[in-house]
Amino acid sequence: MKHDLNTDVKIGIFALIVIGVLAYITLDVSNVSLTPGATYTVYTFLPSAEGVTKKTPVQIAGIPVGVVSSINLIDNTRARVAMKIKNKVQVTEDMVVNLRSRGVLGDVYLELVPGKQAGAVLENGDTLVNSRLAVDYQDIFETTADISRDLKEITQAMKEYTVSDKSVVSNILQNMEELTKNMVNISNQNSENMRVLVQNLAELSKDLRRLGKDGGAELEEALNRISSITQKIEQGEGTLGRLINDETTIDKTNAILSDVKNLTEPIGRLQLGLDYHMEYLGASSEYKNIINMKFSTHPDKYFLFGVVHDTNPPPSSNTSIETFETGGVTTVVAKETSTFDKIRFNAQLAKTFSDFTIRGGLIESTGGAAVDYIKGPVKVSLQGYNFGNAGQSLKASANLNITNSLYITGGTYLFGGTDSVSGIKYGPDWFLGAGIQFTDQDFTSLLGGAGLFVR
């Protein structure tokens, strides 16, 4: 058999093409920057690695910095996740690993969130101790869409209003600010500040009756703050914003909004109630600011939207420390049950039966229900929410609280109560607070003008 050159040329061309195809696919699918040697491995523990697979992305500030390289079950209780991180990215020990989900498909990624103060840089094989579970965004994206829309509407309306007359509300807010400050100090000098608080509340109530003249700047600032949150959400910043601006969710959101409209449309007049209160949680030394908006479509029905803001959540708040023994090494894992860092949302439907009001929906960004009993200046509320977070049992996560409120005037009130009275997880906590409430009728009466939210 003679060697046929023609044959070899054909084979050569064929092999070149095929090897080219292979090389192209290989380079296309392989993340060249993540070749071994260019990465180091950092471990973390998760109570639940549901949805995490090999190659699950690891991000810092939304930028991919690595991938999950392996997952192991440890002690039959937790998942140990190995993350391959690019060498040029430094992981510090203060970073918290957040298991997040993205989009409607629910595929997850790990977000490394830097802590308040920079910690030591981790080396290959080190372990990140702080981890947090995922939020089930699917459950809440529907309501958050509404909230942002309505927040914006309210802000708009209030802005319009303040242009015409700023003074009253500004004074109220100024007083609220002082009130807040005093509440903060309660932890230090308890009894002394209680006295000041009462004083302030008295002043506040005076302010409500008296019309001030100026001080619109603070009010505008406060309103700007609310509107900037709304804007951020609209511009797609933050996970929530991304979710809301996700093309696929918009259709669903629209459907929900039209449901809300159906709720409001048969009623000729929409009444607005605005409620601001602040509370101090004793055991966990946590402060919360809460703004709720009430849309009353019917005398015995209302729709409530609200934002809960932790002014300064200490790292240990809502956090339980658990230690695990693995082969002689003790690992500390911080488990956090709060689903949002600083801002949580309320969205509830309420129905009144004589002295009782039943509310249900989103309480602090989790599902929940509540019963209010209102008789004269006294209000007693029983709230239950946060039933079953991802990977947690109902018992471990559920929040139950009883609030007793006393209305000093028609619009200002003091309240106190116990949180998680079931005491299953964190033990009972106590809280104290003060608040202010007004409806658009208040505005009308105060200003002698027309209703704010007439249709």
Binding site: M1, K2, H3, D4, T7, D8, K10, I11, F14, A15, I17, V18, I19, V21, L22, Y24, I25, T26, D28, V29, S30, N31, T53, K54, K55, P57, S70, I71, N72, L73, V104, L105, T248
Partner: protein, 266 residues
């Protein structure tokens, strides 16, 4: 009674065991002659052309349509729950790991395996194999080794081609026909498909190439009884080859998934 029964089942059993023995001896001889001169580069080129290069068109056709129909079906079903951007990843993984090596091997069994069995079988019954021996040329070295080597080399190459064309076909249908957004489609594809998937497929392809060519050559080499025997050998080569590709694929997949693990609890 019992003796007749034993005789009845004993014969096929013994034949099967003997057949296994023959096959492994044949495989051993093939390996032996792979490592021993003369190395027939010209014969190898000839076979690579016949088995590999000349199969290009059919592989391209099969790959294109396999990728296209796969994308069409997954695209339409995934759309039901809004996951159509995953089509690229799904098709990519399925192609690189399974479809490309298996389809290529089956096409090669049908196209080249049958030809090998028929060619060697005909040469056996017309004494051409004896003539080679009489001319002091080892028929395994001359006939079998180039075919087996060429197939073992060419099936992975054709698999790589199948991958490329199949992925392209899926892309065309997904992005241009089903209007799946290109960016997310490609991102998902690149996220999920890994070089490990490619290697898995190529390792399978090497094994398939070796397996189907050995079987085809063995069946041809054992041909007796004239033209009818050639026909039977050819049929058996194709049937046994195809079945063994699918059966061994399962075991290979199991082992290869151990070698390239995706998920921790497998």
């Amino acid at each position: 009674m019992l003796r007749r029964f034993l005789a009845y089942i004993g014969r096929p059993c013994a034949d099967t065991i003997e057949g296994f023995g023959h096959f492994f001896r044949f495989s051993y001889q093939t390996l032996y002659w792979c490592l021993r001169p003369p190395w027939r580069t010209a014969r190898l080129s000839q076979e690579m052309l016949a088995i590999g290069v000349n199969s290009t068109l059919i592989i391209v056709l099969v790959a294109l349509f396999a990728g296209m129909v796969f994308a069409l079906q997954t695209g339409n079903s995934f759309r039901l729950f809004g996951a159509e951007t995953l089509v690229g990843a799904t098709v990519g993984i399925a192609l690189t790991r399974e479809l490309a090596p298996v389809f290529t091997a089956l096409m090669i069994v049908a196209r080249a395996g049958s030809a090998m069995a028929a060619e060697i079988g005909t040469m056996q019954v017309t004494e051409q194999v004896d003539a080679l021996k009489a001319l002091a040329v080892n028929p395994i070295n001359y006939l079998v080794v180039p075919k087996v080597l060429a197939t073992t080399l060419m099936v992975p190459l054709l698999t790589a081609l199948f991958n490329g064309v199949g992925i392209l076909g899926a892309y065309l249908v997904a992005v241009h026909l089903l209007q799946i957004p290109e960016g997310p489609y490609l991102m998902r594809y690149r996220d999920f498909v890994d070089t490990g998937d490619l290697y898995q497929g190529l390792i399978k392809a090497v094994f398939f190439g070796l397996l189907v060519s050995l079987i085809a050559c063995y069946k041809g080499y054992r041909t007796r009884n004239g033209a009818a025997g050639v026909g039977r050998s050819t049929t058996e080569a194709v049937v046994i080859g195809s079945v063994l590709v699918l059966v061994s694929d399962y075991f290979l997949a199991t082992w290869l998934l151990k070698l390239f693990p995706d998920y921790p609890f497998q």
